[in-house]
C-alpha cells in the first residue's frame, strides 16, 4: 500500500486538476481587467459591478431563485411522501413498479422530460384551461417533477436506516401518530430533508434544457439568459456571474453533505 503511494498521489492530483482547473481559471478570469476573455491584463472587479447593474441578468437571477425556492420546497414535501409510501407501507400491489418508476427522472434525458411536460401543459391548457400559457408556473411544476425523485431517494435511504422501533416506542409511550411524526420521524429524517431540498434547489438553478421547453414570455431563467448571451460571444461579465453561481452552489453542496453525515455529538 505504502509502496505505490506516489502513484495514488499523482492520480489524485491529475484527477482533481482535470475537474477543477477549468473552474479555477474561470474564477481567475472573472477578475480580469481586459475585455478579451482569454487575455490577462490586470486585476479588476469591474465585471461584477457591470453585472450588478444589468437589469436583464438581475431579473433572470431573481426568477431563477424564485423557481428554485418554490420547486425545491414542493419537491421536498412530495418526495418525502413518496419515500414514506415506499418505505413504510407493507407490500402493496405495484410497489416494485412504483419504486422503479420513482427513479426514472434521474436517468431520463432532459430533452425528453422537457418535451413531454410541454406536451402535457399544452393539452392540459386546451382541456381545463390551466396552466394558462407557459411561464413561471410551468417551470416550477417541471422542476418539482424531477427534483422530487432526488428527494425521494435521499429520504428513502435515510428512512431505511432509521430504527423503526423509535416510532413504535413513541406510540407505546402515548403519542398519537401525528405527534410521533413531528416528535420523532421528522427530527430523524430532517438531515435528509435539508440535503434533499438543497439538492433540488441547485438542480433547479442549474437546469437549462427543461426550462427552455416549458418556459414562456417573461420567464427566462438565469441559465437561459446566459446561454443566449454566450451565443453572441463570451463576455467577461458571464465569468463573474458564473463565479457567483459556483460559490452559491458550493456552499449548498457543502451544507447538504454535512447534513447527510451521521451526526456525532461529544
Amino acid at each position: 500500500m505504502k509502496k505505490n503511494s506516489w502513484f495514488i498521489t499523482i492520480a489524485t492530483i491529475l484527477g482533481f486538476a482535470f475537474l477543477y482547473i477549468p473552474i479555477i481559471s474561470l474564477i481567475i478570469f472573472s477578475f480580469n481587467e481586459s475585455k478579451l476573455v482569454t487575455v490577462w491584463s490586470g486585476f479588476s472587479t469591474k465585471w461584477y459591478g457591470k453585472l450588478l447593474s444589468d437589469p436583464q441578468i438581475l431579473g433572470a437571477a431573481w426568477i431563477s431563485l424564485k423557481i428554485a425556492f418554490v420547486s425545491a420546497s414542493l419537491a421536498m414535501v412530495l418526495g418525502t411522501l413518496a419515500a414514506f409510501v415506499l418505505v413504510r407501507f407493507r407490500k402493496f400491489h405495484g410497489k416494485n413498479l412504483l419504486s422503479g418508476m420513482i427513479t426514472a427522472p434521474l436517468v431520463m434525458p432532459d430533452v425528453i422530460i422537457g418535451l413531454s411536460l410541454l406536451l402535457l401543459f399544452i393539452s392540459m391548457e386546451s382541456i381545463f384551461g390551466w396552466p394558462a400559457g407557459r411561464g413561471l408556473t410551468t417551470i416550477i411544476i417541471a422542476h418539482t417533477t424531477f427534483s422530487m425523485a432526488y428527494v425521494a431517494i435521499v429520504v428513502q435511504s435515510r428512512m431505511i436506516d432509521m430504527d423503526g422501533g423509535l416510532e413504535e416506542a413513541a406510540l407505546d409511550l402515548g403519542a398519537k401518530p401525528v405527534r410521533v411524526f413531528f416528535d420523532i420521524t421528522l427530527p430523524m429524517i430532517s438531515p435528509a430533508l435539508v440535503s434533499g431540498w438543497l439538492l433540488s434547489f441547485t438542480l433547479s438553478l442549474d437546469d437549462l434544457v427543461i426550462a427552455s421547453f416549458v418556459s414562456g414570455p417573461g420567464a427566462s431563467t438565469l441559465p437561459m439568459v446566459i446561454f443566449s448571451k454566450v451565443r453572441l460571444g463570451v463576455s467577461p461579465d458571464i465569468n463573474a456571474l458564473a463565479t457567483i453561481i459556483i460559490v452559491i452552489v458550493a456552499i449548498g453542496v457543502v451544507i447538504a453533505s454535512m447534513q447527510m453525515k451521521p451526526r456525532k455529538t461529544s
Binding site: D163, G165, L166, E168, A169, A170, L171, D172, L173, G174, A175, K176, R179, D183, I184, P187, M188, K264, T265, S266
Partner: protein, 380 residues
C-alpha cells in the same frame, strides 16, 4: 414509586383455580400471508408475575409480545388485560409499555427527555414530571446522566434508560423484548437480579421475551416455551427443567441425553424400558401410562449421571462407554462418552477438589449409572 396494586397474597396464583388472571390470552392466532407466526395460543398470566416467553428465533414469541403492545393486530382470538378486551385499543391507549430489544432511545433527546416523554404525552406538569424522572433515574442508578445524549452512554446505561423510560408511566404490564440481549455476560448476570428487584419493588407485571434459557430460568416465576407459533409447555423453571413434557422442551432447555426404547415391562409402580441402540435396560421407579412394546424416550440430564470405572452391580440403569472428550470448565467438567453403538452421551462432574490425582482420562472404559428417579419418560 408507589405500588398501586394490592400486594400479592399468593406467591403462586397459577395454582389457585379461584384466582383471576390479569392477562387472558385466548385462542390467539396471527398470520402473515400464508405464514402462521402465532398459532392458537391460550395463556393466563397473573398479577405481579415475571413471565418469560422462551423460544428459538422465529418461534413467534416476539409477535405475541407485539400483539400485547398493540403493534400487531391478531388474525383471530382475544387479549384481555385486567378484564378489558384490548383488541381495538391502539398502542398509545394501552395500559402497557414496552422495552425494545434495540432500546429504541430517541437519539435527538437527552436521557431526561427520553424518560419524560411518556409523562409529557400524558400532559403532566413539567415540575411534577421532573420529580418523577429524577426518582426513576435514581432507581436505575443513572442520576447524574440526565443531560447526556444516548450516544454518550455505554450499552448497560442505555439499557437502564430504556427500562426507566418504559417504567415511568407505571404501566400495569411491562413488555420486555430481549431486555438483556445486547449486554455482555457479566453485566447480564448482574442486570438480571436488578431487574427482578425492580420488578418486585414496583409490583408491575412483566412479560419477558428471550431466547436465552439461562436468563429465563433466573428471571421468571413461570416460563412459556414456544415452538413454531405454539406454546408447548408452561411451568415454573424447575418444572420445565426437571419435568419436560416433550423431547423438544427437554432438548431446548439445558442439555439432555435421550434414549429411545420400547416398554418391556409395564407395572403399576414401575416401568422397564429396553433401549436397543445403546443396549441398556432402564428401570423407572414410577408408573407410566403406556402399553407393552410401545416406543418412547427416556431423557436424562448430564448432571444426574454418575461416572465410574467400576461396573455397577445391578443389571439396569447403566451404560458402558469410552471417554471421547473432556472439557474442563472450572466449576465442572463435561465428559463426552462414546458408547459401543457410536452414540455420544454427555455427563458432567463437579470439580469439588482443586487437584484430582485420580481423574478419569481419555480413552478409558467407564460406566455411567443413574438412580431410578433421575430421568423423565417422554411420549412425544
Amino acid at each position: 414509586m408507589q405500588n398501586q396494586q394490592p400486594a400479592a397474597t399468593n406467591p403462586k396464583p397459577w395454582l389457585d383455580p379461584n384466582e383471576q388472571p390479569f392477562i387472558r390470552i385466548s385462542n390467539l392466532t396471527k398470520k402473515f400471508d400464508d405464514f402462521t407466526a402465532v398459532d392458537n395460543v391460550s395463556l393466563d398470566i397473573y398479577r405481579q408475575e415475571l413471565f418469560c416467553l422462551l423460544g428459538g428465533s422465529g418461534c413467534g414469541k416476539s409477535t405475541l409480545l407485539r400483539m400485547l403492545a398493540g403493534f400487531e393486530t391478531p388474525t383471530s382470538g382475544r387479549i384481555e388485560i385486567d378484564g378489558q378486551d384490548v383488541a381495538n385499543v391502539p398502542p398509545y391507549d394501552r395500559p402497557t409499555n414496552m422495552m425494545f430489544q434495540s432500546y429504541a432511545l430517541f437519539p435527538h433527546m437527552s436521557v431526561e427527555k427520553n424518560v419524560a416523554y411518556g409523562l409529557m404525552r400524558d400532559g403532566m406538569a413539567k415540575s411534577e414530571a421532573n420529580d418523577r424522572v429524577n426518582e426513576m433515574l435514581k432507581l436505575v442508578q443513572l442520576d447524574g446522566f440526565a443531560t447526556r445524549k444516548p450516544d454518550q452512554l455505554s450499552g448497560g446505561q442505555r439499557q437502564r434508560v430504556a427500562l426507566a423510560r418504559s417504567l415511568i408511566k407505571q404501566p400495569k404490564l411491562l413488555l420486555l423484548d430481549e431486555p438483556l440481549g445486547a449486554l455482555d455476560k457479566k453485566l447480564r448476570e448482574e442486570t438480571q437480579f436488578e431487574l427482578i428487584n425492580i420488578q418486585e419493588s414496583l409490583g408491575v407485571t412483566f412479560i419477558v421475551v428471550t431466547h436465552d434459557q439461562e436468563e429465563a430460568m433466573t428471571l421468571s416465576t413461570r416460563i412459556g416455551v414456544m415452538d413454531v407459533g405454539e406454546i408447548v409447555q408452561i411451568g415454573e423453571p424447575r418444572d420445565i427443567y426437571e419435568f419436560p413434557q416433550s423431547r423438544f422442551v427437554a432438548d431446548f432447555i439445558g442439555s439432555v441425553n435421550m434414549f429411545e426404547g420400547n416398554v418391556v415391562d409395564d407395572a403399576e409402580n414401575y416401568v422397564r424400558i429396553h433401549c436397543k441402540q445403546a443396549d441398556c435396560h432402564i428401570h423407572v421407579a414410577h408408573g407410566v401410562s403406556c402399553t407393552e412394546n410401545q416406543k418412547l424416550w427416556f431423557a436424562i440430564r448430564p448432571e444426574k449421571m454418575t461416572l465410574s470405572r467400576e461396573k455397577p452391580e445391578s443389571n439396569y440403569n447403566f451404560v458402558e462407554g469410552k471417554v471421547d472428550e473432556i472439557a474442563y470448565m472450572g466449576n465442572l467438567s463435561v465428559f463426552r462418552i462414546k458408547l459401543t453403538s457410536g452414540d455420544i452421551i454427555r455427563v458432567t462432574k463437579s470439580n469439588l477438589l482443586r487437584r484430582d490425582e485420580d481423574n478419569i482420562s481419555w480413552d478409558e472404559t467407564v460406566y455411567l449409572s443413574w438412580e431410578d428417579t433421575a430421568g423423565v419418560v417422554l411420549m412425544q
